[in-house]
Symmetry: C2
DNA sequence: GGCATCCTCTGACTAGAGTCAGAGGATGGA
DNA sequence: TCCATCCTCTGACTCTAGTCAGAGGATGCC
C-alpha cells in the first residue's frame, strides 16, 4: 500500500480523534457517563428490546442491565416484559428520558457547530463536502455481502424497494405480474443464490443469480439503495456474482435491462459486458448483455 | 448555522468515531493501556522532561509519575534527574522502549491500512484526498493568533523562515541588510505589534504591524508556513491587523511587496487594497498598496 | 543560611466501563 | 409434565484513568 497514503490517513486519524473524539466525550458526557448516554440514544423514540440494545452496542448483558437500572432510577426509562415473550424485556423512554435525549441531541449539534464555527463560509462548504466524501467512503469500506434466502426479511425489504423504484423509473411503470421475474426458488441454492449488502446490519442493496442447468448464469434484481450509490457497490456485486458463477462452472454471465436504467447500463459496459440479441422475451427489457467469464 | 451542514458533520462524527476511534483503541491498546502508549509515544526518540510530557498530554503529575513507574518497571524507559536542574527529571527510552514504540508505530500504519484496504484504487485516492481536506480545515479551525514580542523564540523562528523563503523566491535573492526592515522595537508596543499564528502550540505564521505616530499603519513581515497555506490564514492576519490598526486610530493601512509574491498580491487585491505610488524606497519592493479603514 | 518556590513522587481515593459466574423466571418442544 | 434453552438480572470482581493532598529533595534569591 502507498506509504504516502498511509501517512495522510494517519495524520487524519490524529487530527480527527483530537478534534472530534475529545470534544465528543466532553460534550456528550457532560453530566452523564457516556455509557448511559449511548444507551439512552440507542433506545430511540419508540423503545427497544434489551437484547437488541445489547447487540447494537456490543455490550455485556450484565453491564446493560446495570446501566438500565441507573437510567430507571433516574426516571428516564421504564423496562417491561414484552407481551409476546415475557423473557424479553422492552425499554421505553419516559417523558423525562425523551427530554434528556433531546438535550444530548442538542449537544451533538453544538459539537458539530463548534467544528464549523471558526471557519468562513467557503471553508465551511469545503469542510462539509470533504466530510461527506470521507463519510461515504468509510461507510463503503464497511459494506459486507452475505448470501441470504430470498424470503429473508432483509431480502424482502430490498426487493420491495427495487420494485417500487422500477415503478417510478420505467416509462410505463412496472407490474411484477407482467415481468419474467424468477420465483424465489430460482434464486435459492442449488438453482441460484441471492446476495444482500449491509452496513451496520442495515440492508442497502441486493443482487440475485440464476444458475440454470447447462445454461449461462443470469443476473437478476440488482438494486442499490439511493443513499448508498456512488460507493462502487454495483461493481462489487457484479464481481462477486461473476466469481460465484465461475465457481459453479459457468463461462457466460448474462442479464437484461431497461433503457431507463442509464447508470446501470454504463456499469455493465465498463465491467466488460457486450450487448447481444434478446435471449428472452422479458417485456420490460430493451437491452440484453453478456460477458464471457473464466 | 446551516442545519444541513450540521447534519453532515454529525454523520461524519458518527462514522469516524466508529471506524477510526474504536479501531484506534483496539490497535494501539492491544497489550498496553492507552495512557502508557500515549506517553511512550510522546517521549520520542530523544527523551523528554517529565514536566513537558505532562504539559503536552495535559495530565496530572501524580498520574504521569505512576505511568512512568510502570514503564520503568517494564524496562522501557529510564528516568534521571536533569544535570542542570536536578528537580526536573528526564525520561529516555531504552532499546526495549524504542522497539515497543516502533511496534506502536507499525500498528498505526496497520490501522490506516485497514481503512484503505477494502477500497479499490480510485476510492482510495478519493478517500485520501478528502481526508487531507478535512485534516487541513479542522487544523485551520484550531489556529490561534497571539501578540508576542518580536524576540520571542517562536517569532524568531518565523522570521528566519521568512527571510530564508525570500532568499529563494526573489529573483536576486534577499539580503536583510539591504532592506528597510523595521527594527524589533518598531514592532513592539507602543510603536507596533507582532502577531504569531500557532496550531497546537507550533508557530505556523507571523505578521507585524508598524504604528508610526501620525502616519498610516504599515504591515510588515507577513509569512505563512508552506504546509499551512490554503487555510485562509493570510486573510485572517490582514483582518486582525486591520482591526488593530483601526483600534489605534489609524484610517489607512499600507504595505509594500515584491513581484515574486504573486499569491500575496492577489490576496491584497481581494482584501480591498489599492495599488499606490511608492511611499518608501524599499529596494526589494515592486508594488505599494494602501487600504482605507474605519 | 534561611525561606519560598519548584518539581516529582507516594498514598489514598473515586468513577467509569466492563467481565464472569451463576440465579431464577419464561418458553417451547418432547 | 418435564427439561433444555433463553433472557435478564445480581453479586463480586478487575482495570483504566484520573484526582487530591501532602512529603521531600533541589534551587534561587535575599
Amino acid at each position: 500500500m502507498d506509504p504516502s497514503q498511509i501517512d495522510q490517513v494517519r495524520r487524519f486519524n490524529r487530527t480527527v480523534t483530537e478534534r472530534v473524539g475529545v470534544l465528543h466525550d466532553r460534550y456528550l458526557g457532560r453530566d452523564r457517563p457516556i455509557g448511559e448516554a449511548r444507551l439512552l440514544w440507542e433506545i430511540g423514540e419508540r423503545g427497544q428490546d434489551v437484547r437488541r440494545l445489547r447487540e447494537r452496542l456490543g455490550l455485556d448483558s450484565g453491564y446493560v442491565s446495570r446501566l438500565l437500572r441507573a437510567l430507571e432510577s433516574d426516571g428516564l426509562v421504564t423496562v417491561e416484559p414484552q407481551p409476546r415473550d415475557r423473557r424479553v424485556r422492552t425499554v421505553r423512554l419516559t417523558d423525562a428520558g425523551r427530554a434528556e435525549r433531546a438535550t444530548l441531541d442538542g449537544r451533538s449539534d453544538e459539537l458539530a457547530g463548534s467544528l464549523l464555527e471558526p471557519l468562513n463560509t467557503t471553508q465551511r462548504a469545503r469542510l462539509v463536502a470533504a466530510m461527506a466524501e470521507v463519510d461515504r467512503l468509510l461507510t463503503a469500506a464497511t459494506v459486507v455481502l452475505d448470501v441470504v434466502d430470498p424470503d429473508h426479511p432483509d431480502a424482502q425489504y430490498c426487493l420491495r424497494s427495487y420494485f417500487m423504484e422500477l415503478r417510478h423509473r420505467f416509462e410505463d411503470g412496472f407490474d411484477p405480474a407482467r415481468s419474467l421475474l424468477p420465483s424465489a426458488g430460482e434464486l435459492r441454492p442449488p438453482h441460484g443464490l441471492f446476495l444482500i449488502a449491509r452496513t451496520h446490519g442495515e440492508p442497502i442493496g441486493c443482487a440475485g443469480l440464476k444458475l440454470p442447468p447447462r445454461a449461462p448464469a443470469e443476473i437478476k434484481r440488482m438494486w442499490v439503495a439511493p443513499h448508498a450509490r456512488g460507493l462502487g457497490l454495483g461493481r462489487r456485486f457484479l464481481a462477486e456474482l461473476e466469481a460465484r458463477a465461475a465457481q459453479h462452472g459457468r463461462n457466460v454471465l448474462r442479464l437484461d435491462t431497461n433503457k431507463a436504467l442509464g447508470a446501470a447500463i454504463g456499469l455493465y459496459h465498463s465491467f466488460g459486458f457486450q450487448e447481444v440479441a434478446a435471449f428472452n422475451d422479458e417485456p420490460y427489457a430493451h437491452y440484453w448483455f453478456e460477458k464471457r467469464i473464466t
